[in-house]
């Protein structure tokens, strides 16, 4: 679905290699998490694979199409939700979705059926005919998601999608990621939320200072799930035994200082 081989990116007028020799492959039907600290190279990688940034070395294939050699075919199979959810704010939500649907050559019937479905799913029907500039942060994020999904892409790429979203919207997006995946499509997203990644992803990759350090399965591998935080902190060089033990301890309900034991949630699901 997505094959990144030896990707290298250097920004103009900069000596630093933002992304160096990164390789990974995404399979159909999986949710893939992309982890790293701020400035590790997550967004740069995503911008390269969506065609936003040119890159100096390596190759990226989306559904078998090289993003540099056959960009139109590659992009046709991809939907992207940016971290800043920038859109054309002077258009109404419907105008924007129709604009995107036109660019992806979605038929009138398909776009109408999908839009209706997504409006109910993401509870955005009340605002779809309003100008986007009046939307809240979360509503903009939702219209970006609807626009990214209007052509039902095989590869759905999201850059820190849950940032600033309310719990209800987060739950809706998580549910739809799973649904999208169940249809044989692939979801690739970057996040800082280790808990979310642990619960949602089949596989995960950790990037640090432009290098891909680790890539491992989470689905069906309880040990990897349990060790995710420790591996992340160690890879990113932020591991401190004292802090880590506190962190792990606080994840256990009975140890949480802010909550009486009897009121503690059964799992951390609801925190999202």
């Amino acid at each position: 679905m997505l094959k990144v081989t030896n990707l290298k990116k250097v920004y103009p007028k900069s000596d630093r290699v933002a992304v160096d020799d990164i390789s990974f492959e995404l399979r159909p039907g999986e949710i893939f998490g992309f982890l790293g600290q701020n400035g590790a190279g997550k967004s740069t990688t995503i911008k390269c694979l969506t065609g936003i940034l040119p890159f100096e070395g390596g190759s990226i294939e989306v559904c078998g199409y090289d993003i540099q050699k056959e960009p139109i075919k590659a992009k046709m199979n991809m939907g992207y939700v940016p971290d800043n959810h920038s859109v054309y704010e002077k258009l109404t939500g419907r105008e924007y979705v129709n604009y995107v649907a036109d660019l992806y050559r979605v038929s009138k019937e398909d776009r109408t059926e999908r839009l209706e479905r997504y409006l109910d799913l993401f509870k955005l029907r009340f605002a779809i005919d309003k100008q986007i500039k009046a939307y809240s942060h979360g509503m903009k994020q939702k219209i970006c998601i609807i626009a990214a999904l209007i052509h039902e892409p095989k590869l759905w790429v999201l850059d820190e999608p849950m940032m600033g979203l309310d719990p209800q919207s987060t739950a809706e997006i998580i549910a739809y990621m799973r649904e999208h995946c169940a249809k044989g499509n692939t979801v690739f997203f970057s996040s800082h939320n280790l808990d979310l990644v642990k619960r949602l992803c089949h596989r995960v990759a950790i990037i640090n200072e432009g290098h891909l350090i680790d890539c491992f399965d989470l689905a069906g591998n309880e040990e990897n799930k349990a060790n995710l935080e420790e591996r992340f902190f160690k890879i990113t060089g932020t591991y401190e035994k004292r802090l880590f033990e506190d962190y792990v301890a606080q994840e256990q309900a009975e140890m949480r200082p802010d909550m009486p034991v009897e009121e503690a949630p059964a799992s951390t699901e609801d925190e999202q």
């Binding site: 940034l53 040119p54 992009k75 920038s86 859109v87 704010e89 129709n98 995107v100 036109d102």
Partner: protein, 568 residues
Amino acid sequence: MNDKISMQSVRTLVRLEMRARFGSRVDTTPKDKAGKALGIIFTLAIYAILVTGIYFLAAMFVRRSDMPFEFLVVAMTFTVCVTTVVAIGNVVKNLYLSGDNELLLRFPVNGKEILLAKSIYCFIHNVVINLLIMIPVCAIYGAVSSAPVGFYFVAIAVMIVAIPLPYAIANLLAIPVMMLMNLVKNQFLLVLILLIAAICGVFILYMTALSGVLEYMRDEGEGMFSPEVMSIFRNFADGAYPFRWYAMLLGGWFSGYSAKDAGLAFLYIFLITAAISVAAYFVTTRTYYKIILIGIETEKVSFQKKIPNIRRSVFGTLLHREFFLILRSFNYSFQYLAMAVAAPVMVYYCNDLAATMGKNTVGAAIVPGLTLLVIIIFSAIIVSFASTSISREGSAFYHTKIVPVSYTTQILAKLVLYAAVGTASVVLSTVVVAAAFGTEEAGRLLTSLDIGCIFIISEMITLALTCLAIASDVKSPTFNVVGDGEMVSANKNMVLSLVVGIVVAALFGVFTMIFSFLPLQVGDVVIIPIGETNNIYAILGGISAVILAASVAGLFANLERRYQRIAP
């Protein structure tokens, strides 16, 4: 809220305001310094033209027509009206539309302190504008009428008396102006029509006044206004209150008015100024805080428009989006659509004036060259807007990279839109000049050949300039946008595109004018015999075709790779 005003907070806010307007003392590059110097020279040139105009009018009124008092009334009317209009704009912009209101309210300062600080800035602005207009008026009047030294002291006193009135009126009128602006906020077509009407109105007024001044300069031999014109000025001066009172204070004693008349004039001015100032004070202090809060709360007020899900072609949808993003912005509508529609009116007046003046000095042969010059200049102004076509994508620029549409198609859609508007403007301008200067009644200043060739050359240059403008933005876009994605200010590409357009217009226009009555000869070979305009058009047409081909190639050659290199 604590209503006590801290002067320290006010001083800090005024300093902030000044720094925001005039920049910090950070070292600038030589390029920036050169740009600033050019800007200052341009402003000084405009000011010199204004002062020269005042001088000619003063000489006409005072020396030749013996109407010194009438001149003062006209001058004070002009001064008070202009300064009031400028002050309204300044007050609305700084007090109510300033984007920093929300920011300032987060600091430990109250609404009254913000109001006072901004009012101090607006008042200083008002003083400067008043002095810039009144000093030349008074100095020129004094020189032309050989006034005694006492006049200049009186003039200083009158300036001090005259300064508060425009500012007070502006404060009073700013609130209804703001209400009106809120009312038409989302009426895009109405705003566009109003903008076109306003541009045409102001331009016609300006050109009529300029034409009058030039007409006077041409007929200077006659030495004075006609009796009808003198009578109009006298009647105007008799009834033009309150401007007449200012004139009476300034030079009434010169024109036979008694000290009692001057005293009464002062009293009236004082009372009017005091009454309007008090009203402005109460209205502003009571409403300012509420209005800026409403402004902050309704900043995101938008319209709602229910449309069916329509499927368009890829190219059609790109055009549709580009057009609506321009139409739904006051700034862009004004800079582009209103200018494009108003251009034929401007072309007509400029051409009319230039043709009339030029015809009398070097003959009718220069009219085609002048027409070409004027049409290309206005086309250059209109299409320079295309030089922000990529930059205006702002933070949504990434969108152009992720969609499955080639960059060539996306740029072609922009080119088609801008070229279509530019072409429509050129067609209308050509039709207007043909109707105005190509008829028997107008003396056939333009033949059918002239009109056809002017259209073809102007159109080729318009298309070439559009390509160059877009190409310059592909090369170095600046995604400097604010609020709901509008550009902060014109970027350097716009200036470059304008300069290229004006240079081409000047070269083509001057070439056509000169060789309309002079032969072009290289050695023994006569390339353009006298009166052979066909050859002139053939040469310019050829050059235009080459420029057009080069600009199209410059825009589209290797475009995919160059566009891909743009990093948001």
